[in-house]
């Protein structure tokens, strides 16, 4: 009997990936393509000359650190969820959320720093591109924040635990992706400046 049971389990298990997770990855591909398009446009435009040179706001170094920390907290919450440690799960999620919001505030201050340095959204495309990169990334990050809030609420209803991790895993994938996307953008700007 036990042997047969095992067999049924195997058949029940979908061999392919969870469809919603897969769809999320495809969605990430579309975001990659948007930013690939924009950063390529940046390079093409830069090579044509008439390009305003300015220093990147130093606050980017701090926001990059914040976004990495936020990802680490989220990873901690995942580890806690796997062990059904709900305090750790909520604390990790909450801290990740808090750092995510801190990142957004930091990005806002980067804009303030840019304006102080007389680099405006309207003007030479060199500056405009920076606003578009950071702004569009922030828009995506806000959707990530909303996603995290939804997951956080569902943890209080005990809907996230070691046997039900899909939503949390998707949130984590999205959040790590957004962090990586920011690091890519920052690196891109450092290299092409």
């Amino acid at each position: 009997m036990e042997k047969e049971l095992k067999y049924v389990d195997m058949v029940d298990q979908p061999i392919a990936m969870h469809p919603k997770k897969f769809a999320l990855w495809l969605f990430l591909v579309t975001i990659v393509m948007i930013f690939a398009g924009l950063t390529s446009a940046y390079i093409v435009r830069q090579s044509e000359g008439n390009w305003l040179e300015y220093d990147l706001p130093t606050i980017f170094w701090y926001t990059s650190g914040i976004v990495i920390l936020s990802s680490i907290f989220l990873q901690y919450s995942y580890a806690s969820a796997k062990k059904d440690n709900f305090t750790g799960l909520r604390a990790g999620l909450g801290l990740a959320l808090l750092f995510g919001i801190a990142f957004l505030v930091g990005q806002w201050y980067s804009w303030v720093a840019l304006v102080d340095a007389n680099v405006f959204f309207v003007g030479n495309p060199s500056g405009s591109f920076l606003y578009v990169f950071t702004g569009l990334h922030a828009v995506h990050l806000i959707s990530g924040v909303i996603f995290l809030i939804i997951v956080l609420i569902s943890t209080f209803r005990y809907k996230v635990h070691s046997k039900s991790l899909d939503t949390l895993e998707m949130a984590i994938t999205f959040w790590h992706f957004l962090a990586a996307l920011w690091l890519y953008l920052f690196m891109f700007l450092l290299l092409n400046h």
């Binding site: 047969e4 049971l5 067999y7 049924v8 058949v11 029940d12 298990q13 979908p14 061999i15 392919a16 990936m17 469809p19 919603k20 897969f22 769809a23 495809l26 969605f27 591909v29 579309t30 975001i31 990659v32 393509m33 948007i34 930013f35 690939a36 398009g37 924009l38 446009a41 093409v44 435009r45 044509e48 008439n50 390009w51 305003l52 959204f121 309207v122 003007g123 030479n124 495309p125 060199s126 405009s128 591109f129 578009v132 569009l136």
Partner: protein, 624 residues
């Protein structure tokens, strides 16, 4: 084996709740209903887009004509003397292009057949996410509503051509159409991109994750391969259009200078400096060229299926068909600058893009060759769907040949933006895709509505349309070689073009007849939906999985378990077989008389698997 387990999707029973009118016909999450919604919406837009083309064909063919009789529809766009307003002419060509490319041949074609056929042909209960599928349709619908509203603005809809190049589209002062009409165009297109991406994500996820047992990628019908790769292309290219449109929105509404530089209007310089209009062209055509294949590939997939079924022969070169589809998919991303040979592109770069463009001729020729060799010595059955598919092959050849001319930068510089280009892409992409779509409707109508369309009306529709399309677009080659540019309101003012007035008149008359012929189809479509002859379960004696469903498949498609797949979909006229077709669900072990030597070897493995399945079934039942 990378197929999803069937046991996992016992959705049929769960979903058998009673639908009310709203959940069944309006906010439906069933892929078949969403497909029909896409189809009917696409047909509406095709009619409208066709009607707009008739309006400007009247202007081009009969420039002296008194168009006052159109005043009830066009109102102020017909002036005192009964002539068409020149700015509205530009709006007409722009909207014709936008509607046909995006709303008809992208949403109407992919939306209809990807939605309808993917779950049915791969053996899935529904799309991966029914909700997202529904959202995709309604975003498309909303996008359509906004585009439709823009037609009735006082300043007219967008008028900068369907490519909406800046600076024309970026500056409200440039032409009336660059005002509110352009804003609505951008909003509508943003929604459209979101809709396409949701649809595409769903198609890819479904094809990869929800195939039934035995349905490996090497047993997929070519339709599914085509829809799958179309969705991949869309997923990679539409976001770039979004990026281009986003920067255009910033230029238009926030005063940035991504695309604008050193522009003088009425002698006064605009403040914008440092932008590059060519940047927009690069971003746009990075979508724009793949878009050609987004439009064409589904039609090619449908044609493969229809031609094979109605030739009663396996498709010639199944693997070659897949490889050429893959080749086209990859190449579609590296040829975009052939649209920009006259934009001041570096000639060296031009040669690279020319070379890459010409390589596309190879996979395309492979496909054409395979269609022809499938037809060769087949037991041809000329259903309307078959005729339209053969028509597609014809257009693909005649339009594809001129593509080789235009791909060469040396010739393109002469022919760029002339009617030669118009003739080329209308044949190879417009008419070919349209024919693929119509072939699909004739072929899968019995599955969609459980009734047959009238074949005689189908034949009349085919011949009028087929001959009509050639009569419309063939003469345009001459007009184009003579040097007449596209998008010009009138050419009687130019000495060199005067002598082509008759030819234009001819084209316009042919266009009107071709357009009128579509009403035969419309009548046939809606009449057959209610009064058509009742269809049999497998009217075309076809192999694919959708014909194993009930006549009116409910939500979940198959009443019992989803059938398992044992063979590829093209076992037509197999030597030794009793019938001239063997459906995919027939195991190899059931057809020892027709099995080929290598298939005979697979029989034992197949029997083993079937036995294991039975054991599982038994053990499942003892548990529950």
């Amino acid at each position: 084996m990378s197929t999803a387990s069937v046991a996992n999707h016992d959705a049929a029973q769960e979903h058998e709740h009673h639908d009310n009118f709203v959940t069944k016909y309006i906010f439906s999450q069933d892929h078949k209903m969403i497909a029909k919604q896409y189809l009917v919406t696409g047909m509406f837009w095709a009619l409208l887009g066709g009607f707009l083309s008739i309006l400007f064909r009247l202007q081009l063919g009969f420039p002296e004509m008194d168009m006052s009789f159109l005043r009830p529809i066009l109102g102020g766009w017909i002036d005192e003397s009964g002539a068409l307003d020149p700015t509205f002419y530009l709006a007409l060509v722009t909207m014709h292009g936008t509607i046909m490319v995006f709303f008809v041949l992208t949403a109407g074609l992919s939306g209809t057949f990807s939605n309808f056929l993917i779950p049915l042909q791969i053996g899935a209960r529904d799309m991966a996410s029914g909700f997202m599928n529904m959202l995709s349709y309604w975003l498309f619908f909303l996008s359509g509503v906004i585009m439709f509203i823009s037609l009735f603005l006082k300043t007219g809809p967008a008028a900068g051509g369907w490519v909406v190049y800046p600076p024309l589209s970026a500056l409200e002062q440039a032409i009336p159409g660059s005002g509110l009409g352009m804003t609505l165009w951008l909003i509508a297109m943003t929604l459209f991109i979101a809709s396409s991406l949701m649809g595409g994500i769903n198609y890819i996820t479904t094809v990869i994750n929800l195939r039934t047992k035995g349905m490996s990628f090497s047993k997929l019908p070519l339709t599914i391969w085509a829809f799958f790769l179309t969705a991949v292309i869309g997923l990679l290219s539409f976001p770039v259009l979004f990026a281009a449109a986003l920067l255009l929105v910033f230029d238009r509404s926030f005063g940035t200078s991504f695309y604008l530089s050193d522009i003088y209007i009425g002698g006064e310089a605009l403040p914008n400096t440092g932008g590059s209009p060519v940047l927009y062209q690069h971003l746009f055509w990075f979508l724009g060229h793949p878009e050609v294949y987004i439009v064409l590939l589904p039609a090619l997939g449908i044609t493969s299926e229809v031609i094979s079924t109605n030739s009663r022969k396996p498709i010639f070169g199944y693997k070659a068909m897949i490889i050429s589809l893959l080749g086209i998919t990859v190449l579609s991303f590296v040829v975009w600058a052939h649209h920009m040979f006259v934009s001041g592109l570096n000639p060296f770069l031009g040669s690279i893009f020319m070379f890459l463009t010409l390589i596309i001729a190879i996979p395309s020729a492979v496909k054409v060759f395979n269609y022809l060799t499938t037809l060769w010595r087949g037991n041809l059955i000329f259903t309307p769907a078959m005729l339209f598919s053969i028509g597609l092959v014809s257009f693909f050849i005649s339009g594809g040949l001129t593509g080789i001319f235009l791909g060469n930068s040396a010739i393109d510089i002469q022919l760029h933006d002339t009617y030669f280009v118009v003739a080329h892409f209308h044949l190879v992409m417009g008419a070919a895709s349209f024919f693929g779509m119509v072939a699909g409707i004739y072929h899968w109508f019995p599955k969609m509505f459980g009734r047959m369309m009238d074949a005689k009306l189908g034949y009349i529709h085919f011949w009028l349309t087929f001959v009509g399309v050639y009569l419309v677009f063939f003469p345009m080659h001459y007009i184009g070689i003579a040097g007449f540019p596209r998008r010009y309101y009138s050419w009687t003012n130019f000495e060199f073009a005067n002598m082509y007035t008759d030819l234009n008149m001819f084209v316009s008359v042919a266009a009107i007849i071709t357009f009128a012929a579509q009403f035969i189809f419309l009548f046939n479509f809606f009449y057959s939906m209610y009064r058509g002859r009742k269809a049999t379960l497998n009217p075309w004696r076809s192999n694919t999985l959708e014909w194993t469903t009930p006549l009116h498949p409910g939500h979940g498609n198959w009443p019992g378990e989803i059938p398992t797949i044992y063979r590829w979909p093209y076992d037509y006229s197999k030597p030794g077989a009793e019938e001239d077709f063997i459906p995919q669900t027939v195991p190899l072990s059931a057809t020892p008389e027709s099995n080929l030597p290598h298939e005979q070897e697979l029989v034992q493995a197949e029997l083993d698997i079937m036995k294991e399945e039975e054991d599982v079934l038994v053990s499942n039942e003892t548990i529950h």
